[in-house]
């Protein structure tokens, strides 16, 4: 039992699976001796060899394609996009093959791969290093999309992702990679890939979020407690498939819902959640749904990136708005 950060939990899960399953292989740019630009694969090549932890040439489409090729031949590659901003050349291979080969062959082939990428802003990184485009993947039939928000969930969800026989896009909220430590046992226990996590129970309003925004959302929940408002906080965690039942149940209880995400607003995952509330939870809603999101702009360079990101204050404002309405 060790106190570890989220990024260390990622490493721990990778090490666990690579040690226990000879089919698991890690590949990506700088994942080897350098241990990844965020140290997520630190020490793994040294420990498991360079045929298990493989530095690739610089070509993202190729990384995805090679991983899919390996996966269809029975291996379980865990590929890395160095930043989510560099994941786009992989989309073609993901849509055309990772997401389709099982269906295309009526189950004869499958693509048990994971594509990991650090995502999100707020770390003063250069352009293209702050993307939150999980919604693009959530719209792709045939993949799963998972975003952990704590060390223990990172560990359990990543294990599940690697073990899952279908392609999983595993997005790591790099802003909270080292935010805090948590005790995580390296027991090989995975977590379900189709369930939200209720991080805090509450009766007045439901706050739905994922990834690094859990930080501001929990902070907002704390502040609300002081105002006498009891907020239920849900970490969606498995963006696709989406566990709407848990969210609907919560809204049934609270009658109010604020959805928080860092991604651009239009057609973000928040839209899908709000849409399902309008479809299945309409009669439970006592107030309009609110989304607190990034703007439909390019994440600014770091001087004002903070102004792009949904803040605790913006969450509080939205909650106060919905509390006033009825």
């Amino acid at each position: 039992m060790a106190e570890i950060t989220l990024v260390e939990a990622v490493s721990m899960a990778l090490a666990h699976e690579i040690a226990h399953d000879p089919d698991v292989v890690i590949l990506g740019e700088d994942v080897g001796i350098n241990g990844g630009v965020f140290r997520a694969t630190a020490g793994l090549q040294q420990r498991f060899g360079d045929d298990r932890v493989i530095d690739t040439p610089l070509a993202e489409a190729m990384i995805a394609g090679i991983a899919i090729g390996m996966a269809t031949q029975g291996m379980k590659p865990v590929a890395e996009a160095q930043f989510m901003g560099f994941i786009y050349p992989m989309i073609d291979q993901i849509i055309c093959h990772a997401a389709r080969l099982r269906n295309r062959t009526r189950g004869r082939m499958s693509v048990p791969m994971v594509l990991r990428a650090p995502y999100g802003g707020g770390i003063h990184a250069p352009e293209h290093h702050s993307e939150s485009t999980e919604a693009l993947f959530a719209h792709m039939p045939g993949v799963r999309v998972v975003i952990p928000s704590s060390p223990s969930r990172a560990y359990g969800l990543l294990l599940a992702a690697i073990r899952n026989p279908d392609p999983v896009i595993f997005l790591e909220p790099k802003r909270i990679y080292r935010l805090y430590k948590e005790e995580v046992t390296d027991d090989g226990e995975d977590l379900p890939l189709d369930m939200c996590f209720v991080l805090r129970d509450g009766g007045d309003v439901t706050l739905v979020t994922w990834g690094a925004m859990t930080k501001e959302t929990l902070e907002a929940a704390d502040a609300l407690t002081e105002q006498g408002i009891s907020a239920e906080v849900i970490d969606v965690a498995t963006i696709k498939p989406l566990d709407m039942d848990t969210i609907l149940e919560s809204v049934k209880k609270t009658g109010r819902c604020v959805i928080i995400h860092e991604a651009a607003r239009t057609c973000g995952v928040g839209a899908e959640i709000a849409a399902q509330l309008a479809e299945k939870g309409l009669y439970d809603l006592h107030a309009p749904v609110q989304r607190v999101t990034g703007y439909d702009t390019i994440m600014p360079l770091y001087k004002i990136e903070k102004k792009y990101m949904p803040s605790t204050a913006r969450i509080l404002k939205a909650v106060n708005d919905v509390m006033e309405m009825s």
Partner: protein
């Protein structure tokens, strides 16, 4: 100034358009008349199949279909050079290769008949199905080869792109990966001079397409793609090399797309008929038949018999195809994931409920 690297692209042809040997020291295959006859039979089978498929399309019994007319030496050359445990990553018209691998003609028809079941075929379970997005299959081949290399299996991945596909980043990145990791993969470029309406010379300023392999440090040759002896010689060489752990190769096969691009295309809009007529003189069956006749192992009677046999096999395939049941609506859902997620399960139930209006 000094020269630090030099390269040559060589061109190989063994049987000329009349089926005459062009050199004295012919590859072993040229004297293996049993095997050559067998290859000729398969090529003929493919040609007769192809003709039928187009007729089925014209009469509304098949969807859009991509003909393999003129490519038989390349496709059969590729497929016949492989072992069962090797992997084929085809594009969309390599029926000759797929048939060598054990895919049934009825399955190919089922695919073009708009039914995924056609890709759940009788060929090796590890072979890739038909791939529509150009050149993306090259990545799958390099990835498979990576798996073989890591597992130290003496297996080889074989893939193919067109002259058009050779312009695409996927092909070029896959080559580079194969070179960087010395992967057991063979890249065939089927240069049939056209990518739908775009002629070869507009695809690239490169004198040969083979030289694309040089960018990745791969041995690269050009062969007469209408000469199966040349195709097989190059394939055998490249596969051996790959199987021995010496890495990847590129083989550009020169041929001509004798048909329209697909049944949805009308090539007369964009290419001169005399070019097509000239190309017919070079096509691969004529010369192989002439060679076999010259060698005294083939006769007109045998030809007639073969054609009858092939036609009857095609008829059986068509019957089987026509009897393939239309997929149930549930098929749309049931192969999306290993385990149907709850949201999709709801959609599946809804689809079943509402499918009839």
């Amino acid at each position: 100034m000094k020269t630090i690297a030099s390269f040559e692209i060589k061109y190989y042809q063994f049987l000329d358009e009349h089926g005459k040997p062009v050199i004295e020291n012919m590859p072993a295959l040229a004297s293996d008349l049993d095997q050559l006859t067998q290859l000729y039979k398969t090529m003929t089978q493919v040609r007769i199949f192809d003709d039928k498929a187009i007729k089925l399309q014209r009469t509304g019994k098949l969807g859009t279909y991509a003909s393999s007319l003129g490519h038989e030496a390349i496709h059969v050359g590729m497929g016949s050079a492989m072992k069962h445990e090797d992997v084929l990553a085809p594009m969309y018209r390599e029926y000759g290769a797929m048939m060598c691998r054990g895919v049934k003609m009825s399955e190919i028809l089922t695919y073009w008949g708009g039914n995924e079941e056609g890709s759940n075929f009788s060929g090796p379970a590890h072979d890739y199905p038909i791939c529509v997005p150009i050149a993306t299959q090259c990545m799958l081949a390099s990835g498979s080869a990576m798996a073989f290399k890591l597992r130290k299996q003496p297996r080889v991945a074989v893939t193919i792109v067109g002259d058009g596909g050779s312009s695409k980043g996927d092909f070029l990145e896959a080559l580079n990966a194969a070179g960087a990791w010395q992967l057991p993969v063979v890249f065939v470029i089927a240069n049939n001079q056209w990518a739908i309406s775009v002629p070869r010379k507009k695809q690239s300023g490169a004198q040969t397409l083979a030289q694309k392999g040089l960018a990745a440090g791969l041995p690269s040759v050009q062969v007469d793609g209408n000469d199966i002896v040349a195709v097989r010689w190059a394939m055998d060489t490249a596969i051996k090399r790959a199987r021995e752990g010496k890495g990847a190769s590129v083989i550009e096969c020169i041929t001509y797309r004798l048909s329209d691009h697909t049944t949805a295309d009308d090539a007369s809009r964009y290419r001169p008929t005399d070019e097509v007529e000239d190309a017919w003189k070079l096509e691969p069956l004529i010369r192989l038949k002439a060679y076999l006749k010259d060698q005294g192992v083939w006769s007109d009677d045998q030809q007639t018999e073969l054609e009858t046999e092939c036609a009857s096999a095609v008829e059986d395939a068509v019957t089987e195809y026509m009897n393939t049941p239309i997929p149930a609506i549930t098929e749309m859902f049931d192969h999306m994931y290993d385990e149907l997620p709850h949201d999709l399960a709801q959609q599946r139930a809804f689809a079943l409920e509402t499918e009839n209006g």
